[in-house]
Amino acid sequence: MADYSIAVDIGGTFTDVVLRHSDGRFWVDKTLTTPHDLTEGFFGAISAVLGKANVSAEMVDDVAVHATTVVTNAVIERRAPKAALLVTAGFRDVLAIRDECRSDIFDNQLEVPEPLISIDLTYGIVERTRADGTIAAQVDRQSVEAVAKELAANGVESVAVCLLNSYKNPANERLVRQILQEKCPGILISLSSDIAPQMREYPRASTTALNAYTAPIVKPYLEALQHGLRRVGFKQDLLIMISSGGVISSDVAATSPVRMIESGPAAGALAAAYYAKRLGLDALLSFDMGGTTAKACFIQNGTPLVTGTFEVDRIYRFQQGSGLPVTMPCIDLIEIGAGGGSIASMDKLKLLAVGPQSAGSNPGPVCYGRGGTMPTVTDADLALGMLDPERFLGGEMALDEDGAQHALARLGQDLGLDQHQVALGIYKLVGESMAAAIRAHATEKGVDWRGVPLLAFGGAGPVHACYVAELLESSTVIYPPMASVLSAFGALVTPVRLDLVRSELTSLAEMNWSIASAHIEAMSQEATRALVKAGCAAGELVISVLADMRYRGQHNELTVPFPSDLIVRRDVVEMKHLFEQIYHRNYGVKLDDLDVEIVAWRVTANGPEHQGSRVEPAKVATTVRNQTRLVRFPGGQSEVPVYSRSALKRHEKLNGPLVIEERETTIIILPGWNVEVDDNGCIHAIRG
């Protein structure tokens, strides 16, 4: 039957591929991304892994899944062909005015992103829809026709339409689309009422503009991949990983590229979700720390937390508020500007500071010997004995330990500390800042962060995870196998899924069920069509209904999932009760005598879980205690044993402190922690 499946994850630096057999065997390959033409790296990776496994394309009869950074690249590089924006007349500056906010009031030099669509390609259409959905002014046909002429004359390939209050009634936007289709056949059209039918004109316009802007790049890209796969012999349609943590057919993805922005990180979070389910954990925190940033995501009940809005292309110091808002379900990613390349310095208070500047990978840390002179987190890790200068990246890259020590000592002179104190300070501070960011995010989202086990991966994640766990009052860290290609692996174990949302403001006390049911029914049908297209049998789908709810008068909502019979029974008392339970859990208060209202309905459709997604345990070999080395930890130093990960036996138990090395990373087990290897090849570190 279905034997082989394959996933390709194109990230900013690397293109990863995983080929898996249903018996659990897998093959991986990792190559540099080819930014000039991503498809080149895509097919290169596929032929490399097929070669390793000695498998032909025709034999890949299960899914072929793709996670990609193509949309983000198009936005950051601003190289897409020109797109246009049509808005209600009188409101042409919706993108330029933004929300009028300065995200950091203390920063006189703040910058905000340029709109993706410029004012000279933004057109006002005479029309008006009221907040209650009534059409106060019909679309002025002539003004749309005049715009259509200009679009054709300017060679515009793609157009976004975002009219006021269209989230409530899409009629005028649809009429505009009809006229454009007549006058500019073949033009790509993104309607805000299709893409992001939610209240708040700026984020909706921004999301729609982003979709229109990237469509002319993404559509041919996906068609080229699909076409190329056919040519080399693949029979399966390509599935695309989307930001919300599901996969969707590539032709559906081509019409809504805005759903693909966080494709790669979503796949990583899905891998974490897979392990959460596999290991029977109600809650898990994925923790991925690389060279310039760390990313974390909470997994609850086997599913990554999803957010309804996020930002892309944060142009000013990665700051919240300096990017383009996107109103689209996305796994709730905590992005932290801390990584192995974060630079340590002395600040104006004559105290040690880590970041926000990063040496990145070029020049990189001092120990890379590529010209970096400022000590970084990686230099500190090396000076503490956590990294082995001879065995970094499997020994392919020798590290300059003396250089790192000297740089740390220089900084120490200013601070009155020796180089080891500085290194330990850096180790602690970077851990503290990551833990603080995770706590702040969790508190804002009403997630209880205390004691959640961590799943650590990325080049620097396993070096710092135990310490971050201690700061989050957690006593478990899990180190999965295949950590270096975890996103590609995540894409393989992801069921098909689509999330849809429609705004409809109603008070629970005055629920209009016929309108609510119409929304739920329409979304369920749309989701079913999309999932069947992605290869699901209609009978296998699970449709869940959720609602964004709040106390009347509030403006921030909580998403409340409803048991399916609740909607059938139309039980508003129970709905209110469920909302209040979640509200109390999140914020510790319950407010009496206040109406509860629904702001939006959501439908989530999930395909079946993958069967046989077993991972073949790592090869069993005899335990080799290679060597020992002196490692300095917070709270002491000792001569600790160093193991090679591939040499660890299943169920083997070891007491920390110790070091476990693998090719792409090093696992640091702090004093007070013990480890055990499980059946899945995961290493579990347990405190105490």
Binding site: G90, F91, R92, D93, A96, I97, R98, D99, E100, C101, R102, S103, D104, I105, F106, D107, N108, E111, V112, R130, A131, L164, N165, M199, R200, E201, Y202, D347, K348, L349, K350, L351, L352, A353, L415, L417, Q421, L424, G425, K428, L429, E432, S433, A436, A437, R439, A440, T443, E444, G446, Y551, G553, Q554, H555, N556, Y587, G588, V589, L591, L594
Partner: protein, 516 residues
């Protein structure tokens, strides 16, 4: 305490304040808090000294925590407090300079002793009285005045005080709900401080607080010592409908021996009969904010970093209003405080300042009854003019400086009230020309879909005076406020006819440097 531990603990205090500010913003009803971030959360030591604060949208709120700390610890010395106590005030002269801002302090108890406070301040929806606007004739017409009191006494809410507050606001559920959110913020913030102390084995916060304040003060003075000594002058002139021209003059004296800067506002206008007067604590807050942004942005904000920035403003001046001057719309004047200061600092550190910005937010409030006779009352909603240009960057368009407040989306307003917007667009060229351009202002037109009369409260500024450019650049264009095409010259509330139309054009920001 070694220097790494100091840094670790310090960062933790700031992150606890940030966490609680985010949670508070999500749980409040007050639209200017949830949509616009008009709030502050701070950690103070047991003597009421500000040691860490969340980085949020309202410098006036943050920096007046410092004076609130003094007021609360004088009224309730730490040793007289019990676990479960929460303190409250909205006294303009003690806290944040108008009744809308309610400040709550929750003592943090550890091993039976008060080790510090979590303070929060938010702009509430309504506190009775005149409402948001400049039209009250004295402070008492502006609503409910809460002196420093115990809101909770040992976990028991003061029923009388809650009942009085509830009866004195037009939005009782929202105000009581938001006060509960502030109390919850104090509780959870305190728990977080206690677990931090347990993790690092601290028995109190005093040594940490001393170090934070001393280091911040010293670093600030060190920076000032690098500046050229002297007295530098700056002046801004602006107008508010119905008021005389307002002049703020600052003589900024840099003492580079002591490392101190004295801002003397003596030559500024006298207090106004309108509710636009500023209490001294708010002037001090905006003075410290301006100096911090221009001179020491990398030094965290706390009592120590504010200490070297002194303010002189004679009693009875518009920047040091006396009882019973009305103060409700004090932000209109307060947000102009940075302008004369930055003109003075332009002579010292031109690369860090801005040309004049549009100044105060243009804020609007409407109320009345909708078609089905249901009463509606908007909270304040804002529109920004252009920001002044920088030495090497344009000013941002339709973006306020110095506050960082967001606009409430039009679709949100239209969904909640019978308001209909007819236009909201930038007016290009209203920002001053120069080597770098000032941000442009915007035009906003709206009317109501109603057959009943309604009320309009609008606070605008700079409709006659432009925002000056710096270094030979052009000024930004002044704004406009019209009802049915006629310029408004009255600051008070208007009773509007159903068909009336409102037009607002916010001012542009000044340019920077001569254009080539």
């Amino acid at each position: 305490m070694d220097s790494v531990l100091i840094r670790v603990l310090w960062n933790n205090l700031v992150s606890i304040a940030n966490e609680q500010a985010r949670a508070l913003r999500r749980t409040t009803f007050s639209p200017v808090v949830r949509e616009a971030g008009d709030l502050a959360v701070a950690v103070l030591d047991r003597r009421g000294r500000l040691i860490a604060n969340a980085v949020t949208g309202a410098p006036g709120h943050i920096n007046t925590m410092r004076t609130a700390g003094v007021a609360f610890t004088e009224a309730f010395p730490a040793d007289t407090l019990r676990p479960g106590d929460h303190l409250i005030t909205n006294d303009p002269w003690l806290a944040s300079s108008h009744f809308f801002d309610i400040t709550i302090f929750s003592p943090i108890f550890y091993q039976g002793n008060v080790v510090g406070f979590i303070g929060s301040c938010i702009h509430h929806t309504d506190v009775g009285g005149y409402g948001m606007g400049a039209g009250a004739r004295d402070i008492h017409e502006e609503g409910l005045w809460i002196p420093p009191l115990k809101l909770y006494d040992g976990d028991v809410p003061d029923k009388a005080l809650h009942a009085i507050i509830k009866r004195n606001t037009r939005e009782p559920e929202h105000v009581i709900g938001d006060i509960a959110a502030q109390v919850s913020c104090g509780r959870i913030g305190s728990e977080r401080i206690v677990s931090l102390m347990e993790r690092y084995g601290l028995s109190d916060l005093q040594r940490l607080s001393d170090v934070i304040i001393a280091r911040s003060e010293e670093a600030t003075r060190e920076r000032i010592r690098q500046l050229p000594a002297g007295t530098y002058h700056g002046e801004t002139r602006f107008d508010i409908p119905g008021s005389d021209e307002i002049i703020l003059r600052a003589a900024v004296t840099i003492d580079n021996v002591k490392g101190e800067i004295i801002s003397d506002f003596t030559e500024s206008s006298d207090a106004s009969p309108l509710g636009i007067n500023v209490c001294l604590n708010y002037t001090i807050a905006y003075n410290a904010f301006t100096m911090h942004c221009c001179l020491t942005p990398e030094i965290p904000n706390n009592n120590g970093s504010m200490e070297p920035f002194k303010v002189i403003a004679p009693e009875g001046s518009i920047l040091n209003a006396r009882y019973p001057s009305p103060v409700s719309a004090r932000h209109v004047v307060g947000m102009h405080v940075p302008m004369p200061l930055m003109k003075a600092l332009y002579q010292v550190t031109p690369e860090t300042v801005l040309a004049e910005s549009a100044g105060g937010l243009w804020s609007v409030q409407i109320f009345g009854r909708d078609q089905s006779e249901r009463p509606f009352a908007s909270s304040m909603f804002n529109f920004s003019g252009g920001m002044g240009a920088r030495a090497n960057k344009n000013g941002l368009s339709a973006t306020c400086y110095p506050a960082g407040i967001s606009a409430v989306p039009m679709e949100v307003l239209e969904a909640e009230m019978p308001i209909v917007f007819d236009r909201k667009e930038l007016i290009r060229g209203t920002g001053g020309d120069g080597q770098y351009r000032g941000g442009d202002g915007q035009v906003v037109e709206f009317h109501l879909e109603t057959d009943k009369s309604w009320m309009l409260n609008a606070i605008v500024s700079r409709t006659a005076h432009h925002s000056d450019g710096l270094g030979g650049a052009e000024a930004g264009a002044p704004g406009k406020f019209e009802i049915n095409g006629k310029t408004v010259t009255d600051p008070r509330k208007f009773v509007m006819a159903p068909e009336d139309r409102v037009l607002l054009v916010t001012p542009g920001g000044g340019g920077f440097g001569q254009s080539k």
